[in-house]
């Protein structure tokens, strides 16, 4: 654990001073007391003191919130206003070149790392224009006489309008354009893809045919009947989109030195400003919940079939009322609250254990669920500890023996599978984007595989994953421009940097080649672990439903409520462990709930199909139904999500690396290289950030395209 007092301690702090500090902040108290005390300070809006902001946390939040919200709202409006029409247009022109173009544009929005796009735009703007590329406003213009104006709302665009000053408005807008564009592009991509998919769904519905049969024009049918219906499922994702904006704002604000919540949080995390980290994490969860509430209300407005409400179960009411009671007690007395909380927790644990045990005693057949979870834990452990490959080898040998033993049967089984494969190959051929994705993925994987031959480490290097520094102190600037293919001297020696070097003398080419191994390692481990957890928990949760499902879903809610990047950052910061392994754990913790929910939804859908009923009526056990019927029918979604997340994980990894987290500074990792490149960008070394960022983008693009293609191929709707 990190030291909660780190932010206050300097080299000159004596032990006595440290003790005094500890007492002042209540660090010496036992954990439950500290927790309750913190709870109390939260509900009384006393969120501690932030060393970074040199201000109370609540004041800092208030000041910076407006800056972030102004940027996010502008970006959100831009994103929705452009993405919805683009999605509709793309669906009308399905499978024509306009459609392919828009889909590629959308996929690139998801695949291009936000920090790379930001740096790229910054670089262009700084080199070719006189636009402002940092800070929120020109401080001299806004905060010094004679041009000073009041900023009562701290929404500077609104304040400028209120003051009637065109110069101020223009200045604020100029500062905002770049960060808002960067932020908008990412969420735009998601909305375009969703809108296109929903629109295609809706255009195949019967009521569209009815509308055509009334004599409406194509345009009226699309916009009056198609679009409103397609907007309904799109709206549900807007809340998620808002979380994406909060994630993105962390990166964007850091790059554009925007004085908002995101950049404040990053600074806090780098210097262990615990109260700021906690407050920020809580606050973004709070924002996310509010965004989702608004979406829910909007949903009820758009879709007359939905009624607000639903019904609460008794345990839900109990939990909510106990929580409220706890908060009230906390407000009056900390010590009673500690006892109360402990009691409640104990009671809750006993109740849970009791209900689980009694269930298993009543239905001894269900014991396999326990073994399923134990098995999942074992597999997760084996993946993380590195034994996974040997398990894979052993099981493939066993599988091979099984195949040999049953070879007659298998050869007959193969026939229909081969037909499916041919069909898939035919569809791949029809879709150029899938081929592009396949090509990208295969080439990047081969780079990782052939790294020792592509970029041989020097003889003095102990660990090829750690880059070597090449300081050349006789030069003022250490970064070297790329020499591309003319690096080889006549003797055959490489005498330059193929893709240039960073300021520290890291070879970018070497970093990219070996960085692909880091990416592959992290992505495979996180995706495999996440998939195993998600399939086990999701299938059981969705199939059984009821109380089990409720509990699991509430747990995933807690994780999903905090935007992913923020949660990962908070985990790394709080544990104060900056290794690549910790980063991997953080990514797994962030990733599994989303997976689980999708698998659970699938299982919930499948369990109501007649063939499940048929299997039950034949006397099949739950175990058999889950493994023979539910999971094989989820496999399409599992493969698609896993493929896409292979890209998504690397994006997050690179983003965290860019912010300086995950492994030492010399670890070959793409995000880290980009951040080194950023330092020298304005001195003209564009290659420092450009090439590693390109690698991230191509990786993500490749997997996204492939995942999209697989979805199209495996989707039964595409048949016939």
């Amino acid at each position: 654990m990190g030291d909660p007092l780190a932010a206050y301690v300097t080299e000159r702090t004596t032990d006595e001073q440290y003790d005094m500090l500890a007492e002042k902040h209540g660090v010496n108290e036992p954990l439950p007391v500290r927790y309750v005390a913190y709870l109390r300070s939260i509900i009384t809006f006393d969120w501690g003191y932030s060393q970074i902001a040199m201000d109370d946390v609540s004041d800092a939040l208030r000041d910076k919130f407006a800056a972030t919200l102004e940027l996010s709202i502008l970006a959100f409006i831009v994103a929705v206003a452009t993405a919805v029409p683009l999605g509709i247009f793309s669906s009308i022109r399905q499978n024509r070149w306009e459609d392919h173009g828009i889909r590629l544009f959308a996929l690139m929005g998801s695949a291009i790392p936000i920090f790379w796009l930001a740096l790229f735009l910054q670089f262009i703007a700084a080199t070719y224009t006189d636009w402002e590329i940092s800070q929120r406003v020109d401080a001299k213009l806004w905060y010094t006489e004679p041009t000073q104006i009041d900023t009562p709302t701290n929404f500077l665009l609104i304040d400028a309008i209120a003051a009637g000053s065109w110069i101020h408005f223009k200045d604020a807008l100029q500062h905002m354009i770049l960060p808002a564009t960067v932020l908008a592009y990412g969420s735009m991509a998601t909305i375009i893809r969703l809108m296109r998919g929903n629109m295609l769904d809706v255009l195949g519905q019967d009521y569209i045919r009815t509308a055509k049969s009334k004599g409406l024009t194509e345009r009226q049918v699309t916009y009056k009947h198609g679009a409103p219906n397609a907007m309904i499922p799109t709206t549900t994702i807007l809340g998620m989109g808002f979380a994406g904006l909060i994630n993105g704002s962390v990166l964007t604000e850091t790059i554009f030195t925007w004085p908002g919540l995101g950049s404040w949080a990053i600074t806090a995390m780098r210097s262990m400003d615990i109260s700021a980290i906690l407050a920020y994490t809580l606050f973004s969860a709070f924002l996310y919940i509010i965004a989702n509430l608004i979406v829910d209300i909007l949903y009820a407005f758009l879709d007359p079939r939905v009624e607000l409400g639903g019904h609460l179960s008794v345990p839900e009411i109990a939990i909510v009322s106990v929580s409220i009671l706890m908060l009230i007690i906390t407000y009056f007395s900390i010590s009673i609250a500690v006892w109360f909380g402990t009691f409640i927790l104990l009671a809750f644990i006993i109740l849970t254990v009791y209900s689980i045990v009694s269930r298993f005693v009543k239905n001894p057949d269900d014991m396999w669920v326990l073994f399923l979870f134990l098995g999942t834990l074992f597999i997760v452990w084996s993946i993380l500890s590195g034994y996974f490959m040997s398990i894979i080898y052993i099981s493939s040998i066993i599988y091979g023996l099984y195949l040999v033993y049953n070879r007659e049967d298998i050869s007959k089984n193969l026939g229909p599978k081969l037909d499916e494969f041919k069909r898939a190959a035919y569809q791949v051929k029809k879709n150029p984007l899938t081929i592009l994705g396949l090509f990208l993925v295969i080439s990047l994987l081969s780079i990782a595989l052939f790294a020792p031959w592509l970029a041989p480490p020097s003889e003095t290097q102990r660990d090829p994953m750690r880059m070597e520094e090449h300081f050349e102190f006789n030069q003022q600037r250490n970064f070297q421009p790329p020499c591309y293919f003319s690096c080889t001297a006549e003797s055959g020696e490489v005498d330059g940097y193929i893709l240039g070097s960073t300021d520290r003398g890291y070879d970018i080419y070497y970093g990219i080649v070996w960085g692909s191994r880091t990416s592959l390692d992290v992505a495979v481990k996180v995706v495999f672990t996440g998939t195993f957890i998600a399939v086990a928990i999701g299938a059981v949760s969705g199939y059984y439903g009821g109380r089990v499902d409720d509990v699991i879903m509430r747990i995933t809610d807690v994780f999903i409520a905090i935007p992913g990047l923020v949660l990962a950052l908070a985990i790394i910061a709080v544990t104060d462990d900056n290794s690549i392994e910790m980063l991997m754990y953080a990514l797994i913790i962030v990733w599994w709930p989303g997976f689980t929910r999708i698998i659970r939804a699938e299982a919930l859908r499948i369990r109501n199909l007649p063939y499940i009923e048929a299997a039950k009526a034949a006397g099949a056990s739950d175990f058999r139904i889950i493994f023979m019927h539910i999971i094989p029918n989820c496999i399409t979604s599992i493969i698609v999500i896993a493929t896409m997340d292979m890209g998504g994980i690397v994006l997050s990894l690179a983003a965290l690396g860019f912010l300086g987290f995950g492994g030492g500074p010399d670890l070959a990792e793409w995000g880290k290289l980009v951040s080194f490149g950023q330092d020298d960008m304005l001195l003209g070394s564009w290659w420092g950030f450009f090439f590693p960022g390109l690698a991230v983008a191509l990786w993500a693009l490749g997997f996204y395209l492939l995942g999209d293609g697989i979805r199209d191929i495996l989707d039964p709707k595409q048949r016939n």
């Binding site: 049969s213 219906n229 407005f301 009624e307």
Partner: protein, 343 residues
């Protein structure tokens, strides 16, 4: 009324071109109920969609001639076709719930077709009665929704006031204001001419309480009512012909009897032509005057209803009639025909 000559339609699929229609000839006279019977995949629905150019993107009319009231509409322009759809030929579909737009009220959906095809009547009615032409109560949020919104707005406002950021609560105040303003403005809007026409259309299909039904959404109605709304919609444009594509397949027998009775009544009252597409020979026997049997994209027999059941000529028709279980327990005669998709 409607003449179809040698109509040919193809579908382009993964497995190649599928010939759905191989030269269909059909003549429907004024004021008659014409039944088109066939099994799945025989091309009976494709015939009607081809005639109105409502085929999905993969389908294509490759030959033949379609004549409506003496006018050749085979190569008619898109705008002429739009006049015909809804204006001269109304269509009702199999599953009324999925054929009605779930997010629009009945009022809006019927109003749409009236504005398209009966615009002059609406204006005339409006000027006669001196009422607004189109304007009406558009959106009727239920009190529950309004209450929830109000509660959320108030909680947000108090939250932001507590945080000392009063400005953030302004949009919520605005929202509350808009809500009250809308309720105030719409407190007693008179019924527009369009509303009256919609209500008139609904009462033509014997729906009780048409005003209430007009303001409801499709999912709030029962299956029989939904199909009545569909019929009201198909007739609203004063179409002279009704195409009913399996109108009762999704309904229960007793409701089916009601709907068929309604179609017969309306046909008689307005002297319309009806093309009834169905797979159920019983429905044809009770409703239609003439009937055509389709098989593999062709019409193999056409006759009056009495004739076809008493004295079927074609082997397939005979087999089809004998395959229906009747009172006795003797073994059913199975027509020796391939089933689409069989291996």
């Amino acid at each position: 009324m409607l003449e179809i000559e040698d109509l040919k339609t193809n579908f382009n699929t993964y497995d190649g071109v599928v010939k759905a229609l191989n030269g269909v000839n059909l003549t429907i006279k004024d004021g008659e109920i014409f039944g088109l019977v066939g099994e799945t995949g025989s091309g009976k629905s494709v015939t009607c969609y081809s005639a109105l150019k409502l085929l999905p993107k993969t389908g294509e009319v490759v030959g033949g001639k379609i004549v409506l009231n003496g006018e050749d509409i085979t190569h008619a322009s898109e705008s002429r076709l739009r006049q015909i759809r809804g204006g001269e030929i109304g269509i009702i579909f199999q599953d009324p719930l999925s054929a009605l737009n779930p997010v629009m009220t009945v009022n809006e959906q019927i109003g749409e077709i009236l504005v398209l095809h009966q615009d002059e009547e609406i204006k005339k009615l409006a000027s006669e009665k001196e009422i607004p032409t189109y304007k009406s109560k558009k959106f009727q949020a239920s009190p529950g929704v309004e209450f929830t919104i109000l509660a959320f707005c108030i909680s947000f406002i108090s939250l932001f006031v507590m945080l000392g950021q009063f400005t953030f609560s302004l949009p919520f105040l605005f929202l509350i204001g808009m809500m009250f303003l809308r309720n105030y403005l719409q407190r007693d809007l008179p019924q527009s001419a369009l509303d009256l026409m919609v209500i008139d259309a609904l009462s033509r299909v014997k729906l009780p309480n048409p005003e209430q039904i007009a303001s409801s959404y499709p999912h709030e109605l029962s299956g029989g009512m939904q199909q009545r709304v569909m019929i009201a919609m198909a007739l609203a444009g004063k179409a002279k012909m009704l195409i009913a594509d399996e109108p009762t397949t999704a309904l229960d027998v007793t409701i089916q009897a009601q709907i068929l009775q309604l179609i017969k009544d309306i046909q008689r009252e307005e002297n319309m032509s009806v093309l009834l597409i169905t797979h159920d020979l019983g429905v044809v026997a009770e409703t239609c005057e003439k009937v055509a049997v389709m098989y593999k994209g062709k019409i193999i027999e056409e006759a009056s209803v009495n004739q076809i059941f008493k004295n079927p000529q074609h082997e397939y028709t005979k087999a089809l009639i004998e395959a229906i279980p009747k009172g006795g327990k003797e073994r059913l005669k199975v027509p020796d025909i391939g089933e689409p998709g069989a291996i």
